[in-house]
């Protein structure tokens, strides 16, 4: 377990020191770490439960290192969900297998019933039932089941890794349906997903124009503008303050975000809410492209404060130039000059027209459905110790 600990500590360190930029990298590193954790997990009685516990423990540490990096929590919960799902499907097969072996009429009925209960989506009734049935079915075929579970889980986790890697391509495949000839697109800051999306749209010789808002204070828009221009897309770089002025001549706003919350709201780079409001005012569709690893099962509560990070004032004001202002103080010594430099912005779901994920295009109201497919309700609050 030593190297696992070391790996975990390393990742925690990177997260805490904010050495990782972007949800993609965080997601990938997290999932790879969890894969190692799972593969090195010792066999035990209740394999699923021990796996879940191990992953949960590590997940809590990772999330605590950087609570604002929601992709980490998403991946942890995805893996937990995978484990639970695999456990459930194995149990269902095992139960059905048992029924075939016994060849009792009663048994068949019972076992069918049990299988149904196991595979039903969680409800109060089914939870109480399954507590009883699980104790029945656990007796048999322990070791084989455990091994199978681990393998299945690892396989599923590998699929997850693959998904994260190719999410850009899957999203970009939908570009041709959205962007037509002579379209004028506005984007904000820089997102790799958006870049791939726009580049995919240039196939079939569709020429369109892109306005890139620079996205202070990181100015990533400059990088995106350069990349797009290199691929011969007509690009214009504008300052963030000019977004309202230009948006009346724009057909579509396409942005990438940091995270998508369960209500359909998004956490994005600071300034995104301003762009979304302007788009709403001018009835311009506001399209969010996001990989499914960015879907977060949490509902945002006071996101401007709780899901936000403040960056250094030196990005806005030069310390040297303003050093004399820092000296001023009122009677009680409190400084007169404060600087606010938030990193993220929350956009409510009413302002978003469309989500494009690697699973297709959706309305903001559909996001909760997607979340129920990928996450289990037990995992939403990782802090508690779950019974199973």
């Amino acid at each position: 377990m030593q190297d696992i600990q070391a790996l975990v500590n390393e990742l925690v360190y990177k997260l805490r020191k904010r050495k990782m930029e972007g949800s993609d990298t965080s997601a990938q590193l997290t999932v790879e770490l969890l894969r190692s954790v799972i593969s090195q997990q010792k066999m035990s009685e209740n394999q699923a439960a021990s796996l879940i516990e191990a992953v949960r423990e590590i997940g809590v540490k990772l999330i605590a290192a950087n609570p604002v990096e929601l992709a980490v929590g998403n991946i942890v919960r995805r893996v937990l969900h995978i484990i639970r799902e695999e456990e459930l499907s194995l149990m269902a097969k095992a139960v059905q297998g048992m029924g075939v072996d016994d060849e009792h009429n009663n048994g068949v009925k019972d076992n069918d019933h049990v299988a149904k209960i196991l595979t039903r989506s969680p409800s109060l009734h089914s939870l109480l039932d399954s507590a009883k049935t699980s104790s029945n079915s656990k007796g048999k075929a322990d070791k084989i089941a455990n091994l199978k579970l681990k393998n299945n889980v690892l396989e599923a986790v590998n699929y997850l890794i693959e998904d994260i890697k190719i999410c850009h391509e899957q999203i970009a495949e939908q570009a041709l349906e959205l962007i037509h000839q002579n379209e004028v697109v506005l984007t904000f800051g820089r997102s790799r997903t958006v870049k791939n999306f726009l580049l995919a749209a240039t196939k079939k010789n569709r020429s369109f124009q892109v306005f890139v808002a620079e996205g202070a204070p990181k100015y990533q828009g400059h990088v995106l503008a350069k990349e797009l221009a290199a691929k011969e897309i007509q690009t214009t770089l504008i300052a963030d303050s000019a977004v309202f002025a230009m948006i009346s001549r724009v057909n579509m706003v396409i942005v990438g975000v940091h995270a998508v919350m369960a209500n359909g709201g998004v956490i994005g780079p600071v300034g995104l809410n301003m762009v979304a409001l302007a788009a709403k005012r001018h009835a311009v569709p506001f399209v969010v492209v996001a990989g499914s690893h960015k879907l977060c099962p949490l509902y945002p509560n006071n996101p401007e404060v709780l899901l936000n990070e403040m960056r250094s004032p030196s990005e806005l004001l030069d310390f040297g130039e303003f050093s004399d202002c820092m000296d001023h103080g009122i009677g009680n010594g409190a400084p007169l000059l404060h600087v606010a430099n938030p990193a993220f912005d929350y956009v409510p779901p009413e302002l978003v027209s469309l989500f494009i994920t690697d699973m297709g295009g959706h309305n903001p109201s559909f996001i909760h459905q997607l979340i129920s497919e990928h996450y289990s309700a037990d995992d939403f609050n990782l802090q508690q110790h779950t019974a199973s």
């Binding site: 202070a216 400059h222 214009t236 963030d240 000019a242 230009m246 300034g271 912005d345």
Partner: protein
């Protein structure tokens, strides 16, 4: 005096429209009593530099022997004029200053002494330079501006459109003889000023034509830069090198490209060639070009004071009438200023006012009396329309500030700054949020001045307004102009701030003097705007890690454009109230003020 009247009795067909600079001069006017230096001793200048002083957009006025005048005025500015302290604060401007060596404290030579002192000190507000780099010793001034190529082109085009008709009308002798000077210059402006002729019952002919003027008066379209032939002609006539900016954004082809400071050495060398340019006007033009002077009020005051100088130094050339000649001189000054930087609406209104005053000069005045009258009119305009108006606005707006307020402001507006400082002096406890944006970063100067005076301030950039707006109780914004449909034309980014404030139900108060209102209407920020320096977008000063756009390949340069807009139009539904010197009005009342009260200032 008599000479002038004599000249009027002979109906003069005034040449308007394009004609070659070598056109024969007008029929000789009478000689006026000269109080200045002797006339017609300096050699007539060659025509080409003179013609070059005209702006590309302006149809040149008839060329009189006013060239001689130019030579005289150039010789006049002189030793004995102390360099006023304020002008030394102009940032990068010292080399030219030593060359020009002028700038007398402007209002000091006018008769009304204490009046001028008052204006001097209060004018200190507006007369702040705007050197971008060092914020500490040079507090920047400023309002927002809007560029308008105003009455000159408008009027010139109108004049061009109705050449013979109007000329004939103006030839009506008799009672209308004295109205002729009114007629001629009024053709060169938009209609409403002519309405003032209602006062004189004898000027009925002028009335009727004025009515017609007003009806045609939807402000005529300005020079559109996508018109190839006119741009070509304009290029040939301009002073500054009209370098074809590469990669101009298609959508903004109708706007003039930005003229940046690299023109400066070229202009400096041209100074000695531009004989009819008054040095004060030249200096102001260069300040605009360099961006040292920015802000609607500051620019307007500087321009008016430069005109005061020019008027003081003006001598009517022989065989010319003061009114017409001075008007054409002012027009040529204005076209030079337009070349340096497009006019703001405040400047346009001020020019209209000045021309109207010139036109209304009673004929009985001698030249020196006329000049003194004009100078005092200019002082009164500055005092009443700007200085006192600001005091009234500050008084009104300060009543809207309560203890515990969090006030947000954007960029750097001098009226808003005055309001905040005044409220602070009154002892109100409030917190200020200064929002700033690239590339101009004007908020930093405001921030510095407020912190020095002891206000607690928070500084953010425009992207963070959604974050900070939760805590804000009021938003105070300045404006370059307010248009007749209630749209606020102001620094780019104002619209975004107002929109977010509206979304969070925070009241937005616009503080703007009434002289900046205009009868134009505008729906979006594209049809009319000013383009700034595109390189300012690509480079982020002070952040070495950010310069991603330094090495661009050819392919990238071909496809990548930079757009630096200076203004935007804020829709009226985001505005709660407009605080003006006429009181606190809703945005819907702006056309009322434009229409009803616009006559008032012309009747001064």
């Amino acid at each position: 005096m008599d000479g002038r009247r004599v000249s009027r009795a002979v109906p003069r067909v005034r040449q308007v429209g394009f004609f070659t600079p070598n056109a024969p001069p007008q029929q000789p006017g009478p000689t006026r009593s000269q109080s200045g230096p002797p006339n017609s001793n300096s050699p007539p200048l060659s025509d080409s530099p003179a013609s070059n002083s005209l702006s590309p957009v302006m149809i040149p006025p008839p060329r009189h022997l006013s060239d001689n005048l130019g030579a005289r005025t150039a010789a006049v500015p002189v030793p004995g004029r102390a360099n006023a302290g304020e002008h030394a604060t102009v940032g990068s401007y010292n080399p030219t200053e030593s060359v020009l060596g002028l700038e007398s404290p402007p209002a000091s030579r006018i008769g009304d002494g204490e009046f001028s002192e008052g204006t001097e000190s209060s004018l200190g507000w507006y007369r702040r330079s705007n050197s971008a780099k060092f914020a500490s010793s040079f507090p920047g001034g400023g309002f927002d501006l809007s560029p308008v190529r105003q009455p000159e082109t408008v009027a010139a085009k109108q004049a061009k459109n109705q050449p013979p008709g109007e000329a004939n009308k103006s030839g009506t002798p008799g009672a209308a003889a004295s109205s002729k000077p009114v007629k001629q210059p009024s053709q060169r402006k938009d209609g409403p000023p002519v309405a003032s002729s209602v006062a004189a019952s004898e000027r009925t002919v002028a009335d009727r034509s004025a009515e017609k003027e007003r009806k045609k008066d939807a402000p005529p379209p300005r020079m559109q830069f996508d018109d190839e032939s006119r741009v070509g002609k304009a290029k040939r006539r301009s002073v500054l090198n009209q370098s074809e900016a590469r990669n101009r954004v298609e959508l903004f082809r109708h706007l003039p490209p930005h003229k940046n400071g690299t023109q400066l050495p070229h202009l400096e060398s041209k100074f000695f060639e531009l004989h009819e340019m008054h040095p004060a006007v030249y200096k102001v033009g260069l300040q605009y070009l360099m961006g040292d002077l920015s802000g609607g009020n500051a620019r307007c005051i500087a321009m008016l004071q430069a005109f005061q100088e020019a008027i003081r130094d003006y001598c009517t050339p022989p065989e010319k009438t003061l009114i017409r000649d001075l008007t054409s001189k002012i027009s040529s000054f204005v076209s030079f200023l337009i070349e340096c930087r497009p006019l703001s609406i405040s400047m346009g209104n001020a020019i209209r006012f000045l021309k109207n005053r010139i036109a209304k000069l009673p004929l009985v005045l001698s030249e020196s009396e006329a000049k003194a009258a004009l100078c005092s009119d200019i002082d009164r305009f500055i005092n009443e329309k700007i200085v006192v108006a600001d005091k009234v606005i500050v008084g009104h707006a300060a009543t809207k500030i309560r203890d515990g307020d969090v006030l947000l402001t954007y960029g750097s507006s001098c009226v808003v700054e005055m309001i905040l400082l005044y409220a602070h002096e009154l002892g109100k406890q409030f917190h200020v949020v200064v929002v700033d944006s690239r590339p101009m970063l004007e908020g930093q100067k405001l921030l510095r001045r407020l912190v020095e005076k002891g206000l607690t301030c928070t500084y953010t950039h425009i992207n963070a307004i959604s974050y900070i707006m939760h805590e804000v109780t009021r938003v105070f914004l300045g404006a370059s102009s307010i248009l007749s449909n209630g749209t606020v034309y102001s620094r780019v980014g104002t619209a975004s701030v107002a929109m977010v404030a509206h979304a969070f139900s925070v009241p937005v108060l616009i503080c703007c003097e009434a002289y900046k209102f205009h009868e134009r209407v505008q729906l979006d920020s594209i049809c009319f705007n000013e383009l700034g320096d595109p390189d300012a977008i690509g480079k982020v000063p002070g952040r070495a890690d950010i310069n991603y756009l330094d090495n661009l390949t050819e392919k990238q340069k071909e496809n990548l454009e930079f757009l630096n807009l200076k203004y935007d139009a804020t829709p009226s539904d985001y505005i709660s109230v407009i605080v003006t010197d006429y009181g606190m009005i809703p945005p819907t009342s702006v056309p009322v003020i434009v229409r009803e009260y616009r006559k008032e200032y012309l009747l001064i």
